[in-house]
């Protein structure tokens, strides 16, 4: 326990790919980050600085090589696959840089996919998905698969999917990198709305327009946090 009511905390986190091999890559080096509940935390830095890797570790889809990760003061570093899946199901929503939507699956089904193993009936799944998509301006696109959607629309479908379980924390990886400026503004508005609802937001971005809304900004370079975290 850390004793501080942080939503998410990383202590001395390292991520090393191919450790001990000739092509060893140190993606993250001794990262210390604390994310307060209800805050908007921005991770920024140049390409290859380790932003996506850090977002992955905080989203529990990646395990650190060393160090500890805490969720609401409880260490989750050594959690089992099942326990981490439950965190992703109940506590966090993830939005990926390349959206990671299921091809050939209508937008509403993509949004509702996380509800399938929870035993939610199809009618209810569709109702919740359509409600979210409508709130994000996609009411007319609910039955279209990702291939028929623009980048901005796909981004909003991905955001809706991250929200469908009503998580406390939403983690977004480069949410504006694959969309045009106009759509980026729409995404910014969505993020502001989520923050107003009290959600904890963590996002990695190059986009300085998003910095203004941030409560905390961390800069990464070569896997190292500038200023030592």
């Amino acid at each position: 326990m850390t004793g501080v009511p942080y939503m998410m905390e990383c202590r001395g986190v390292w991520k090393i790919y191919n450790e001990g091999r000739p092509h060893e890559v140190r993606a993250l080096v001794d990262i210390n980050i604390a994310v307060r509940k209800g805050s908007l935390t921005v991770l920024t830095g140049p390409s290859g600085s380790g932003k996506t890797t850090l977002v992955g570790i905080m989203g529990t889809i990646e395990r650190p090589s060393r160090g500890r990760v805490y969720l609401e003061g409880r260490e989750i570093t050594g959690f089992s696959d099942v326990a981490l899946s439950m965190i992703r199901r109940e506590r966090t929503g993830l939005v990926f840089q390349n959206f990671n939507l299921l091809p050939g699956v209508p937008a509403w089904e993509n949004v509702a996919y996380p509800l399938i193993p929870q035993g939610v009936r199809e009618g209810e799944r569709r109702r919740r998905a359509v409600e979210l998509l409508s709130a994000l301006g996609l009411a007319a696109r609910v039955d279209h698969p990702p291939e028929e959607l623009s980048g901005g629309e796909q981004q909003r479908v991905a955001i809706a999917r991250a929200l469908v379980n009503d998580p406390d924390m939403i983690i977004l990886d480069e949410p504006t990198s694959n969309i045009d400026a106009g759509t980026a503004l729409q995404v910014l508005e969505i993020l502001k709305g989520l923050k107003r609802e009290g959600k904890t937001l963590i996002l990695s971005t190059h986009d300085s327009d998003l910095f203004g809304e941030a409560d905390e900004i961390y800069r990464l370079k070569g896997g190292v946090l500038e200023g030592g975290g």
């Binding site: 996919y113 996380p114 929870q118």
Partner: protein
């Protein structure tokens, strides 16, 4: 509800990944179709053979000739008929015969016995110098009722050590109208004609003995007492030989099939991994959005069940068409002797539930082997890695 959700999602996935589904189902059909068809034909032929044995005589008597079945004096029929419990003893001549290069079976029975066969015949039962032939033979040689057929030859004279040979010509009095496997290439004549054709005066191939219920054992013992060189074959023994014969043929087929399967399995494993990188990414997405490994595996399991059911059912349907419409083209010859690529009679077939169940299990094992392990391996790595 969760299980139903996963089942419906699996069904939707099977439809969505049409190309992969199509390729795997085609592979399953290619593997299962010969198995189902061959098994149905084997069971059908076996059923008919056993039925034929059960409806035939109770005991068959021949003579031992150097350890093989040999001719038996025709008058023995009268001797055997005197034994208590015997209702009838019918002498028979049964042998192979070549007719215009085509192998057929010649059966000679007393005229009185032939009368009983009239119900199966187009035309009439044969009299002296007449014959009834099978539908397959008639079609192959272009013969019909009223035509004639040469059955063997006879030496009419020897002049200066040179035999003068004359063909034995018989009038076709009827044709077996049924398309049955046993009568297709049969040539039925009066027993006296059969004896004459094979020049075995005073002898027959065997004597078919009909016995009252409960007398089989005592009759067998009494027959043996008449002559210790008699070879006696009971109905039970005939059935056992029949079973062994079919099992041997089935065994040969299964051996060949297992070899073919050995080659087919790696193919389907490769093909069921078709689109594996896409599936890997999907599994990563599901795990990242809160699915558990067990739930992912459950869904993939349902997908495989659906594919296996479709594959096995289509294979069964096509097998049925192969047998009923194509008459076991190219495959019937494995189980029916002397049949070419195209059987001249209706190939018997019996579809039993067990081969279908086995086919479904095999299909499931094949698809599972190709997908469950790779899905499980993908599910247990961190989702970020699976999605990369």
């Amino acid at each position: 509800m969760k299980t139903l959700n996963l089942l419906l999602t699996a069904a939707a996935n099977v439809m969505r990944q049409r190309l992969r589904t199509f390729v795997v189902i085609i592979c399953l059909i290619v593997i299962l179709l010969p198995f189902l068809t061959a098994t149905a034909i084997q069971e059908g032929v076996k059923e008919q053979a056993l039925l034929s044995v059960s409806e035939g005589a109770d005991v068959y008597v021949t003579m031992d000739m150097y350890g093989r079945n040999g001719m038996i004096p025709v008058e023995m029929a009268g001797e055997i008929e005197k034994i208590e419990g015997v209702t009838k003893a019918v002498p028979r001549v049964i042998s192979r015969i070549y007719i215009e290069g085509r192998l057929a079976v010649l059966l000679g029975l007393p005229l009185a016995e032939l009368e009983e066969k009239v119900g199966f015949i187009k035309g009439s039962a044969p009299g002296e110098g007449e014959t009834v032939i099978g539908r397959g033979l008639a079609d192959a040689l272009g013969l019909d009722v009223g035509g004639s057929i040469g059955l063997g030859v006879r030496v009419t004279a020897i002049v200066d050590h040179r035999p003068y040979i004359e063909r034995r010509i018989y009038r076709i009095s009827g044709i077996f109208d049924s398309a049955g496997i046993w009568t297709s290439d049969l040539v039925l004549v009066d027993i006296e004609d059969a004896i004459s054709i094979y020049e075995m005066e005073g002898f027959v191939s065997d004597i078919a003995v009909y016995v009252r219920p409960g007398y089989e054992r005592s009759v067998t013992e009494e027959i043996q007492k008449i002559n210790s060189y008699f070879r006696i074959q009971t109905k039970a023994l005939a059935e056992r030989y029949m079973e062994q014969g079919f099992n041997r043929k089935g065994g040969v087929f299964v051996s060949l099939y297992v070899m073919a399967l050995g080659l087919a399995i790696p193919t389907i494993l490769v093909l069921s991994g078709f689109g594996l990188s896409e599936r890997r990414r999907e599994v990563g997405i599901l795990k990242a959005t809160g699915w558990q490994t067990q739930e992912v595996l459950e869904m993939v399991f349902f997908e495989n069940i659906i594919i296996a059911v479709i594959g096995a059912s289509l294979a069964l349907l096509l097998s049925y068409i192969w047998v009923r419409v194509l008459n076991g083209l190219l495959i019937a010859q494995i189980f029916i002797a002397e049949v070419g690529n195209v059987a001249p009679f209706k190939v018997p077939a019996l579809f039993t539930p067990m081969p279908f169940v086995l086919s479904f299990i095999l299909a499931l094992v094949l698809t599972m082997t190709g997908s469950i392990y790779s899905t499980w391996r993908t599910s247990i790595v961190p989702p970020a890695e699976a999605m990369r």
